[in-house]
Amino acid sequence: MSAYQARSSGVDVAISVAGLRKAYGEHQVLDGLDLHIPAGQVFSLLGQNGAGKTTTVKILSTLTTPDAGHVEVIGHDLATDPDGVRANIGVTGQFSAVDPLLNAEENLALMGRLWHLDSKVAKERCARLLEQFDLVEAGRKPVMTYSGGMKRRLDLAMTLVGAPRVIFLDEPTTGLDPRVRRAMWDLIRDLVADGVTIFLTTQYLEEADQLADQVAVLNGGKLVAQGTPEELKRQVPGGSVDLQFSSPTALDQAVAALSGTPLTRNDETLTLRVPNDGTAASVQALLGRVDVTTVHELSLKTPDLDDVFLALTGTAPAPAAGDADKKEKVLA
């Protein structure tokens, strides 16, 4: 889990995928996926439910065999050396892969033995993980009694026992309340600081924005965009200020006053969309050019990954907050 591990072997590409295809019956889930993921970064695969995110993780983590395509993880060919891949990866999925009848200590110790770690090393690592993941107190209680957030933390801790160089996080915060989600983000940031490569799938754009170095948008089994969050945001129109006027006359006057600026005019709603970066100074400058007494309403619009998602896939992304709220009660 330390920095030297990811870099010492000279592997720059942690995961490379070419022409990955997978169909379940008639349904083509992955339709020619190509990925190049540098070591030591957070790569986020973004997509809606059913976009093929989990299928991708299952294939890359050797759980499912693809119909076609070439995959290498840390230089190990998935098809010919799955055990080589397995020895370098850890997976934490959406559904907790913990033993509910064991306690946290026993779950971690079980991982230590299955990673064939030296018992002293395993003991130290498990003790450190319990502490790092705030599970010391609950360490000896059966996992059955844990909250959703605790289970997820234990799940991630179990993934880390073997100090894998690539970690797959399949929707790691789905169903967690916002506070627990933020705590998970901090844990993920710590991992990256240690040189681990993270393959993160999420349907929450904010999560990708917060964590990812590289983002790829998956839609209909294909990548529709790839780049840094900033690059993706640049692909959609920039920010703007929407001004709604009290009368058609006022709208006409404003258009005249702002001549020379590329305006989008809507006569039905009496709205004018003016390009603007959204800073206080530029909003003030804009308002200085129009008669503010005729402005009925003003709204600021800054581009975010939601716009990217909408522009690329033609559908709105999942509402993160609402979803979490619904599940909060269950997990509390």
Binding site: T54, R86, D99, L102, L110
Partner: protein, 263 residues
């Protein structure tokens, strides 16, 4: 470490995990012995007087009905144990922990090896408990130490076969409900065999089925070892059934084990 060392180490690790789980979830043992104990009480105390006289007249034996009915109910325990392993297997598969094991560089068959060994042990313990209950009810056997060793071998083989079948059901079942209901006919099979009454007392068609179904030779072998009644070819037929059922359950398990079942 070599592959063989990993195979042994991983199987042992997972066996320990399974046994720990079994100790913490005694409900499974309770459900394994529940049905046979219920039938034992029912048949001995409720129907025992009438059935005992009929059985004594047609099949000999010790004359106590508990002695006659016990071998059938012990074999029934192998079937309820098979249900237990189907449920445990299905639970493992849907819990996601097995998916985690599969993404790790371990000796994969260890997952099933550990499951089968722990289930066989669990069912043997359940059978010992049933022998204990029967003993409290007045059961007595004429078996020697060598006979008891033979009984241990027989019951291990029967449990091994039915456990593989249970694992096969557990792996094939899409939900826990299916896994816990599918083995049910097995539990009733000793009734349509020599478990409760001798097959010679049955109508022809039923008798034919009862004599050729797998549990009858197992029951008759156990009865022979316990009381010194004639075993004849039954031991060999029982052994053949055990090999056949094991092979079937094993092949079926292998087919479904490779599939990923989470979601």
């Amino acid at each position: 470490m070599s592959t063989v060392t990993y195979a042994v180490a991983d199987s042992a690790t997972l066996l320990r995990r399974n046994i720990k789980n079994q100790m913490r979830y005694p409900t499974v043992v309770a459900s394994i012995i529940g049905i046979p104990v219920l039938f034992l009480l029912l048949f001995v105390y409720v129907f025992g007087n009438v059935l005992g006289k009929g059985v004594a007249a047609s099949a000999g034996g010790t004359g106590h009905y508990v002695d006659y009915v016990l071998p059938g109910l012990i074999i029934m325990t192998a079937a309820t144990g098979s249900l237990g392993s189907a449920v445990s297997t299905s639970m493992d598969m849907t819990e996601g922990i097995i998916a985690r094991f599969k993404t790790m560089s371990i000796f994969r068959p260890a997952i099933l090896i550990a499951r089968v060994i722990s289930s066989v042990l669990q069912t043997l313990v359940s059978m010992a408990l049933i022998f204990g209950v029967a003993w409290l009810m007045g059961f007595s056997a004429s078996a020697s130490v060598a006979d008891w060793l033979g009984i241990l071998v027989l019951l291990s083989a029967v449990n091994f076969a039915l456990t593989w079948l249970g694992v096969g059901i557990g792996l094939a079942a899409k939900t826990l409900d299916v896994a816990s209901n599918a083995p049910f006919p097995l539990i009733l099979l000793p009734f349509v065999g020599s478990g409760i009454v001798p097959t010679s007392t049955m109508p022809t068609a039923l008798r034919w089925f009862a004599e050729y179904q797998p549990f009858t030779p197992m029951i008759e072998t156990l009865r022979g070892l316990l009381y010194g009644t004639g075993i004849g070819n039954n031991a060999w037929i029982a052994a053949a059934w055990c090999v056949g059922i094991s092979a079937l359950g094993f092949a079926w398990s292998m087919k479904n084990f490779k599939k990923d079942r989470t979601r």
